[in-house]
């Protein structure tokens, strides 16, 4: 792939599909066809994106300014009343706070674990085969779908499960802890599960990043008398910074959207201890049938995601 990479491109005029440069465009059939060609190739994408992306977004926004929709045959517009209801609902803010806690802790620990394992796997102290074996084992959690991760940890963390048995045998806890159904531990427990499931993505990406850092930088620093800690802060971190920012933003976007893991482990409970924005919205729509209010929450989440996406796009442009 890299061998065929070329920076050489024929000048614009030579491109077969570009319209003739100097001549005034005359709308001949041939020119029209040439102009239409790229749109022909793009038409399946455009149709799909209009019908299943643009239309639904317009729909959800219009739902959000109606009194109830879907269940109501002739809904009336109510302006921004639903936004007032949602933003004044303590349950929404509880879900927002939970989402923020779940997401920020996940992102930070993902990064720390991912970077630690990446550095360990990048060591020169161990043989290639040993490192390959560890890499496969460390990447394992990444290969399971969220539904599987959820049932697995429900089994491990159940009151009479193996985690409790181990913790009890070493004396860390006295008695059966109901990790996922105790309001004080549930949020921490689902966050832990999400950490387990998500760090390999960072590990793999950062490992690739580490391997891209020129060794000469470390050589030069060593000769200047820099120790491992200094080298880490003066070379590794600055070199990986753009990658770390992208990974963290992307993970932040994904984790705020997490639904299946919460839904299948705690369902947002007990009571509202692990309610996040996506489960809050889902329940509003599909268990309480408040489709207009659910749409309002969905639009608020969309706006928030677009802000994050803007920062992500900006961080990407900064890297180029």
């Amino acid at each position: 792939m890299t061998t065929t990479r070329t920076t050489h491109r024929p000048p614009r005029e030579d491109r077969p599909q570009a319209p003739p440069p100097a001549a005034r465009p005359r709308w001949t059939a041939a020119l029209l066809r040439r102009r239409a060609t790229p749109f022909g190739y793009l038409s399946p994408t455009i149709v799909l994106m209009v019908v299943l992306m643009a239309v639904p977004i317009v729909m959800v926004i219009s739902y959000s300014v109606m009194d109830n929709v879907i269940t109501n045959r002739s809904p009336e517009p109510v302006g921004l009343a639903n936004y007032g209801t949602i933003l004044g609902d303590p349950a929404f803010w509880k879900a927002a706070t939970n989402t923020l806690a779940f997401t920020s802790v996940s992102v930070v620990v993902h990064l720390v674990l991912g970077l630690t394992f990446a550095i360990l796997l990048n060591t020169e102290l161990l043989g290639k085969v040993t490192k390959a074996v560890f890499r496969v084992i460390l990447v394992l959690p990444w290969l399971f779908t969220v539904a599987i991760i959820a049932v697995l940890w429900r089994m491990l963390l159940s009151p009479n499960g193996v985690v409790n048995a181990i913790l009890e045998s070493v004396g860390l806890i006295g008695g059966e802890v109901e990790w996922l159904s105790n309001p004080t531990t549930a949020l921490a427990a689902v966050t832990f599960i999400n950490i387990w499931a998500g760090y390999p993505f960072y590990m793999i990406s950062l490992l690739a990043g580490l391997q891209g850092i020129p060794r000469d930088l470390y050589e030069a620093a060593s000769i200047d008398g820099a120790g491992p800690v200094q080298r880490f802060w003066a070379i590794t971190i600055p070199q990986l910074k753009p990658l770390i920012i992208s990974l963290a933003l992307l993970d932040f976007i994904w984790t705020t959207q997490q639904f299946a893991l919460i839904w299948m482990t705690t369902g947002g409970g007990p009571i509202d201890a692990t309610e996040v924005l996506s489960t809050f919205t889902y329940k509003l729509a599909f268990t309480r049938y408040e489709f207009a209010e659910a749409s309002t929450a969905a639009v608020i989440i969309l706006a928030f995601s677009m802000v994050l996406a803007y920062f992500y796009a900006r961080s990407q442009r900064a890297r180029d």
Binding site: P38, M59, F134, L143, F144, W196, P200, S246, Y312
Partner: protein, 297 residues
């Protein structure tokens, strides 16, 4: 290591000597190993426990003290699942949907990637920004209108409904990746077929697509995984048991009669098999596809 050292100036033998001897500090080596073993236990023990639980009888599941291998070791949970037509149907559904999504995404992605890579057209920049940013649209935002839309289009509780839905999430990624891939292929290649009087269509399918196979594999694996793992839309846009996919099937198993933990674990093992196989056989493409899109969208 040799390649690294060759970068160093030849007239500085002191530099070359600096690295080679005395670097294999046994203390450091042991510490690295211990840390990696700890990580491997953290990552691997739960997976090992899932595997061992799938061979237990349901009565032994929560035996105390916990044991990895029990007397009751048996394949009962697997035969139970593979002989139950309802559960087999979950797997059939998942495979049909995931393969369809992968094939269609590659097709649509190749066409659009080719347009972005080889043509100039009005609104190109705008379309590109749209393609990149729709990736951040939260699934939950689309879910509510999809429910009504799919009923209206008569796609509710059908394969095409789920397939089209998943394509909305896989196509932007496929376009970005394949545009980038086609950009690395020199335009002189397309020119070759022009000599024979053939158009861009021939250039795409005869020349570019065959060379782009590694890129297509990466994108295909990523797409397959998205479709195989999806939960939220599968839960909401299907209603009858014969349309459910594996992730929903696992959840249904959890709700049914008393928890059949051994069956849930066996179904999980069967459910992760395709991804595991993809990973083991296509490790390079797999990692390339999963990380490149995220890292370099």
């Amino acid at each position: 290591m040799a390649t690294t050292l060759s970068h160093l100036p030849k007239n500085r033998p002191d530099l070359r000597q600096h690295r080679t001897p005395g670097r294999k500090n046994p203390g450091k080596q042991a510490a690295t190993l211990v840390a990696l073993v700890a990580g491997a236990l953290f990552a691997g023990l739960p997976v090992l426990w899932m595997l061992s639980s799938s061979f237990k009888t349901n009565g032994e599941m929560f035996a105390n003290p916990p044991r990895l291998v029990t007397e009751g070791f048996n394949l009962g949970a697997y035969t139970e699942i593979l002989t139950d037509p309802v559960k087999v149907r979950f797997f059939v559904n998942s495979y049909v949907i995931a393969f369809a999504v992968t094939g269609l995404t590659l097709l649509v992605g190749i066409l659009a990637g080719f347009a972005f890579s080889r043509f100039d057209f009005p609104l190109k920049k705008t379309l590109n920004v749209v393609i990149v940013s729709v990736q951040a649209v939260p699934p939950i935002t689309l879910l509510i209108p999809y429910f009504g839309l799919m009923v209206a289009l008569k796609l509710y509780n059908t394969y095409p409904g789920l397939i089209l839905t998943y394509m909305v999430f896989t196509i932007p990624y496929a376009i970005i990746m394949l545009t980038g891939y086609f950009n690395t292929l020199p335009r002189e290649l397309d020119e070759a077929v022009k000599v024979d009087g053939a158009g861009p269509w021939t250039a795409l399918w005869r020349i570019l697509v065959p060379i782009a196979v590694p890129g297509l594999v990466s994108v295909g694996i990523y797409t397959f995984m998205i479709a195989w793992n999806e939960f939220l839309f599968a839960l909401t846009l299907t209603r009858t048991e014969d349309m459910r996919t594996v992730p929903i099937g696992i959840q249904l198993l959890m709700g049914q009669h008393s928890y059949e933990w051994n069956q849930m674990m066996a179904m999980s093992i069967l459910g992760c098999l395709p991804v595991l196989v993809l990973f083991l056989f296509f490790q390079r493409y797999f990692i390339g596809g999963m990380t490149a899109g995220a890292v370099k969208v």
